[in-house]
Symmetry: C2
Subunit: 115 residues, 2 copies
């Protein structure tokens, strides 16, 4: 392979290979993003930016069926994007931490969309 930037690119490639995170770490990060990669789940997260909510109200806010929302909440919780606490008959969901808010806002800025 020959290119004008052979040296710089080869050095960058070597540095990149040396500093590549481990397979498991990369998989964990990928799983985080996968949780954010579906419209149905993003809707839930945009909704929870307005405050914690139980499942019934999440369904009200985002539409769809209770079952589908519940399945998606499970994925979001498993990925550490939302957290849940029981409150009587209800489970109240909220965004896990400020990283989630920050990532959502960055992505929206990147895509020039208001939230």
């Amino acid at each position: 392979m020959v290119c004008d930037h052979e040296n710089e690119h080869a050095m960058a490639a070597r540095r990149a290979a040396e500093n590549m995170p481990g397979t498991e770490e990369i998989a964990r990060v990928a799983e985080s993003f996968k949780a954010l990669s579906e419209s149905s789940r993003l809707k839930i997260l945009f909704a929870l930016r307005h405050g914690e909510m139980c499942v019934y109200h999440i369904v009200e806010a985002v539409g769809g069926t209770q079952s589908a929302v519940s399945h998606q909440l499970r994925i979001l919780k498993g990925a550490g994007i939302v957290k849940a606490r029981r409150d009587g008959q209800n489970i109240v969901y909220s965004l896990a931490d400020e990283h989630v808010v920050a990532v959502l806002e960055l992505a929206c800025t990147h895509q020039k969309c208001k939230i």
Copy 2:
């Protein structure tokens, strides 16, 4: 539906529904995250943090076949995560902007992994 926080949750649900971004905007954001949601693509992005590279060197840095890497670069470019410029026989790829770097770093912080 009756819960102790009926009023607060109902208000949050109403605000959430009123301020929900449009279907297309949500889809665009989801597409961004989808691009970040596969280990093979994350590896490419972690590599490009060390500097712009042509495809040959990206393959060297992340492993795999040229074809697979090229397919993944297409997805990353389509989602606006990386940009490309031709340089003679080579196409040189780089991260699209600072948002990408910031999102990657946030996700890694969230998952407690070093990059």
